[in-house]
């Protein structure tokens, strides 16, 4: 799939922002006043900024409000609803924390639940797609949710929790790669099943339908070199998970190391998310002979 910057920014930053809101809503840390103001400002900037970025790849963003109508069937619509509800509930909680110095527990827990549900809905937009076997697995949700929680814990200064969650997220990440690498082959989708020409004999794509490229190839048939992807996986693992965990478990890690951990985590997660899209093989590539399977 095409690793569009808008979807990478969207999933990375909204994941991080809603991850922060989960922890703030749960009252860990139980911040009030100006500290709370700063943390909520960062969380909202990330969550709302990410959601805004997602509208950049729309063909007609002026009609975006219509996306709230089909929550019965569409995960994208559900995500929109959950995001707006989470942001509203958490805004009430944040107002109480910043200006009234109180932490109404029920509202916080509701907000945290909605924030977590938003990240899950985002993950289901990808995990629901049978056409992308690498994504069509519960590990996609595990990867995105764990990463959001790990990043949220990191950003809200929950050092030990963050280290533990990031280690779990790393496990989900590695498992997602491992399972994902053979997902297309295991899905049973081949050029033979795509064309129904397997019975007569061996099928080979002889000529594409047009001399030029097209929307389908640009959007869904992104091919990454294996060497390239292996290097990026190492970068993602090291910077996104390894280095932050090491920095976090250094006793008495202050704000300097914390900031370093956050920056390293962000760069690593962006690399990981680029791979998430770039490596995902859409079955339509079979028709173009672009898949080895």
């Amino acid at each position: 799939m095409h690793p569009a910057p808008s979807v990478i920014i969207f999933t990375v930053f909204s994941g991080l922002g809603f991850g922060m809101l989960v922890f703030l809503g749960l009252g860990v840390p139980p911040v009030t006043g100006w500290v709370a103001f700063a943390l909520y400002a960062i969380a909202y900037a990330a969550a709302v900024g990410g959601l805004m970025a997602s509208t950049f790849h729309l063909g007609n963003p002026q009609r975006a409000l219509r996306a709230f109508t089909q929550w019965r069937t569409s995960w994208l619509s559900r995500e929109g609803w959950l995001a707006v509800l989470a942001l509203i509930v958490m805004a009430i909680y944040a107002f109480a924390a910043v200006f009234l110095g109180s932490l109404p527990r029920a509202i916080g827990w509701l907000g945290a639940g909605l924030s977590l549900a938003t990240v899950y809905a985002t993950s289901m937009i990808y995990a629901q797609l049978k056409t992308v076997p690498r994504w069509n697995h519960w590990l996609t949700s595990a990867y995105l949710v764990m990463l959001s929680l790990g990043g949220g814990a990191l950003m809200t200064g929950q050092m030990t929790t963050a280290a533990a969650l990031l280690a779990l997220a790393a496990a989900a990440q590695v498992a997602h790669w491992q399972i994902g690498d053979s997902a297309l082959a295991r899905s049973g989708n081949t050029l033979a099943s795509a064309t129904g020409l397997g019975a007569p004999g061996q099928v080979r794509a002889f000529e594409p339908p047009h001399t030029g490229t097209n929307y389908l190839l640009r959007e869904m048939v992104h091919v990454v070199g294996r060497k390239h992807s292996r290097k990026l996986r190492m970068i993602a693992l090291t910077l996104g998970f390894g280095l932050p965990v090491i920095l976090l478990i250094i006793p008495g890690a202050g704000h300097v190391l914390g900031t370093l951990a956050v920056l390293s985590h962000l760069v690593g997660v962006i690399a990981s998310r680029w791979l998430f899209f770039a490596e995902a093989e859409h079955v339509v590539g079979l028709y173009y002979g672009k898949r080895a399977a």
Binding site: G59, N214, Y215
Partner: protein, 261 residues
Amino acid sequence: MTQLPVSTDRKLGLVIDLDTCVGCHACVISCKGWNTENYGAPLSDQDAYGANPSGTFLNRVHSYEVTPAEGPAQLVHFPKSCLHCEDAPCVTVCPTGASYKRSEDGIVLVNEDACIGCGLCAWACPYGARELDALEGVMKKCTLCVDRIYNENLPEIDREPACVRTCPAGARHFGDFADPESAVSVLARERGGIDLMPGQGTKPVNKYLPPRPKQDRATDFDILAPYLEPVADSPQGFLGWLDAALEKLPGGTTAAKTEDT
């Protein structure tokens, strides 16, 4: 509404005969023409006469080479457009309700006024049947020429999809699959019409007729061959003498030995 209808009164769709298609791309052109001049946003092109042309098409013809275990290889031209699936995954993922499947005839359509151009339906389609128009920013797909098939301003003979109407080889057929006795149902049944990517569970309405195996006809094709044999395996007369004489010269032969012929 992006909820799929439980059932549709009719199931309009196409039968595409891979045995008959000659790969002329006339259906591609007539589709592009009709759907640019009529219903909905036109199918735009980018850099049409430049170095890197690209454009929106609702119907594309691939070509595949099929090599059987025995017998000659075969070239199969493979037109592909929306299959108007019964379980259309493109419809249910749509966040705005722009994508829908009609309960009266099963046609899958896009209400372009409600489409935000998020592209998720194109991701959900395994067949590459949907393309986001780069100029209009809305999703385009085969409408089964819904503005032709019910159009009483057209002569009756033209009330079928443009691709079907134009196909010079008769490789495309349009009809109602809900009626087991319709021409398309009979054709699909008799010729063993197949679903594309059945594993995706989309239950496509359009059916593809597999190419008839060419190797079955290989012997028939060859009936005159014995009379036209260009190379004599066992030379007689003068050629036989020449062959034997040449064999006797020192140096041997480069090819397999033939002295005892």
